[in-house]
């Protein structure tokens, strides 16, 4: 579409200088970057100030709450000394809610994996109007406020007390809220590979559908599944809007406990609880970043394709190796 950028020839430079409406100093003809470096104008200075202020706005409160959770007395400041007392206090008081959250996240992940992976694959393989419609429908629970979903669940299942009082009530709420992330992630990766050709190749060699699904589709979709899984776990661990409405005193999750601590405990305990939340979530977030997913659960497609290319190269090399040896190793 666009011409590749070239160094301006002397003629072009002269033409530019002539055609410029207000004649401007020669330095303006230099490429954007070098000019910025030579003379930082007040626009750049303003940009730097806004950037610094915004970074401070986002990062300083996180650091403050970490500090507050580790100081003996926040009101008197760090000089009162550092302690792990508040953190252990939180683990004693709210340890159950942390465990509950981990159970809920695991159960949600299991349900989402079992249903979302096949669905994402099926939606990517059949590009019909109906499948587009299904895809859009599945996204509705994240597009609409969580309160509506929670009220609906309470309205219809509130009377079934065994279900309503169990953790599964929270799990199904998390399930509808996180399912679209897995479906989108798997569908995106399946659409980026030519699965149809691969599968036709396998089918022509006699592989049944289930064989193809487990030996071709799943291994190829693996990065998308992993990305989806990390997103699902992170979202489930942090979900509050639905969970607050759905929980009972016996099914408090981590964020529900957080709200409780913020409302009724001293600021050091709230902060220490926030540290516990950070300690669980931030490794997941870093994992997501290493995989090239933003915390909103979206894969960076370019990065994915680069990964694919690398993997294909590796696999074809492995294939070349294998073809020279008589017995290829079977992975256990």
């Amino acid at each position: 579409m666009s011409e590749p950028a070239r160094e301006p020839t002397p003629v072009q430079t002269r033409v530019q200088t002539i055609t410029q409406m207000p004649p401007s100093p020669a330095s303006q003809l230099a490429p954007v970057r070098t000019q910025r470096l030579r003379s930082p104008n007040w626009i750049t200075v303003g940009q730097v100030m806004v950037t610094l202020a915004l970074c401070a706005f986002l990062i300083v409160p996180m650091l403050m709450s970490v500090m507050a959770g580790l100081t003996v007395n926040y009101f008197r400041g760090v000089s009162s000394g550092l302690t792990l007392r508040w953190v252990s206090n939180v683990l004693e008081t709210y340890g159950d809610s942390v465990l509950t959250s981990l159970y809920v996240a695991a159960a949600t992940l299991a349900l989402v994996l079992l249903t979302g992976v096949p669905a994402g694959y099926a939606l990517a393989r059949s590009r019909t109007r109906l499948s587009r419609l299904i895809e859009e429908m599945l996204v509705l629970p994240i597009a609409l406020p969580g309160l509506a979903t929670a009220l609906g669940l309470l309205a219809i299942y509130g009377g079934f007390s065994a279900f309503r009082n169990s953790l599964w009530f929270i799990v199904v709420g998390h399930f509808v809220f996180t399912l679209p992330f897995m479906v989108r992630s798997v569908a995106a990766i399946c659409a980026s590979i030519d699965l149809r050709t691969l599968e036709e190749g396998a089918a022509s060699l006699g592989a049944r559908f289930s064989q193809r699904f487990f030996t071709i589709v799943l291994p190829n979709a693996w990065p998308g599944i992993l990305a989806g899984a990390l997103t699902v776990v992170t979202l489930s661990l942090g979900e509050f809007n639905l969970t607050w409405m759905l929980h009972t005193p016996d099914t408090k999750t981590l964020p529900v406990g957080l709200a409780d601590a913020y409302a009724s405990m001293r600021i050091e305990i709230g902060s220490a609880y926030t540290i516990v939340f950070f300690a669980i979530t931030i490794p997941l977030l870093i994992g997501m970043q290493l995989l090239g997913i933003d915390p909103g659960g979206n894969l960076d497609p370019q990065r994915l394709q680069r990964k694919h290319a690398k993997r294909r190269a590796r696999e074809s090399a492995a294939l070349a190796d294998a073809s020279t040896s008589a017995l290829p190793e079977t992975p256990l």
Binding site: Q28, L54, F75, A119, A155, V172, N241, Y262
Partner: protein, 274 residues
């Protein structure tokens, strides 16, 4: 579509589990909510709720707050996103990672971050106390809510701006510059039009998320009348399921309409992701 390796029965079999659970735990509940919101006389119920002064004020305040947050987020994120795309400095990756963490914070944690910043024992209070002798505490008000919504909106829009700005064709800007355009003109005529689709989509998501945000308001102040808080109070304190159902459906329709409008404008999917 004739696809030998993917017969229809397999398509149905693979989609069925997800659709069954989705129908059971989302479509049915929402259907029941719609049915409930009708009450005995749907028209009268909706009219009664939608002409109620308190609910209307709550809806108006929520829309106004969400619009303000969206505009402020767009302006700030464009400035910062462009800067971060075009300049490299040490530890940039770490900074970007830190900037995106708030995306995964629940609303309650965002609320607590605002308390850390502007609460009774907050940083801004301490600074203003030292500088002017007056403690400025705004966490537990509409301003605090505004700060909280900014806190979770900005990271998402910065990511979008950076992704879109990275694809901008630098030679267009150089051409504009060589033709004598001022930095403002370049911004107005070259950069912003190129970013427009991404900005429209993320503005819609930002608006939708702000409309439905509940945890932040819940932590900061339960007496601020934003719509999610009103729904919550109607449901828990007044046990008024019908009104809560009507209001949450109204909230849902407004949110969905804004997202659909943005998608029609930009042709790309936009969905609230928080």
């Amino acid at each position: 579509m004739h696809d030998l390796t993917f017969p229809v029965r397999w398509r149905i079999a693979l989609l069925a589990p997800a659709l069954a659970l989705f129908a059971g735990f989302w479509l049915l509940p929402i259907g029941r909510l719609i049915q409930l919101s009708g009450g005995n006389d749907a028209l009268a119920t909706y009219r009664a709720v939608l002409t109620n002064r308190r609910y209307l004020e709550s809806l108006g305040a929520t829309v106004a707050l969400s619009v303000a947050v969206t505009l402020a987020t767009l302006v700030l994120s464009v400035i910062v996103g462009l800067f971060l795309t075009r300049h490299s400095f040490p530890a940039k990756r770490v900074l970007l990672a830190l900037l995106t963490f708030p995306l995964a914070f629940p609303g309650v944690v965002v609320g607590f971050m605002v308390i850390m910043l502007a609460g009774r024992q907050g940083l801004i209070g301490a600074l203003t106390m030292a500088l002017t002798g007056n403690k400025w505490v705004f966490a537990y008000s509409m301003t605090g809510l505004f700060a909280g919504y900014l806190y979770f909106s900005i990271p998402r829009v910065i990511i979008t701006v950076m992704a879109a700005a990275g694809k901008l064709d630098a030679s267009l800007e150089e051409a504009a510059r060589s033709l004598g355009a001022s930095p403002w003109q370049i911004m107005r005529d070259v950069v912003l039009p190129a970013l427009a689709p991404a900005l429209t989509a993320s503005a819609a998501v930002c608006f939708a998320t702000s409309m439905g945000a509940f945890g932040t308001a819940f932590t900061l102040a339960t007496d601020i009348d934003v719509l999610p808080m009103t729904i919550y109070t109607e449901f828990t304190l007044n046990a008024n399921m019908v009104t809560a159902a009507v209001l949450s459906l109204v909230l849902g329709v407004v949110t969905w309409a804004v997202l659909a409008l943005a998608r029609n404008l930009t042709g790309q999917a936009a969905a609230a992701a928080a």
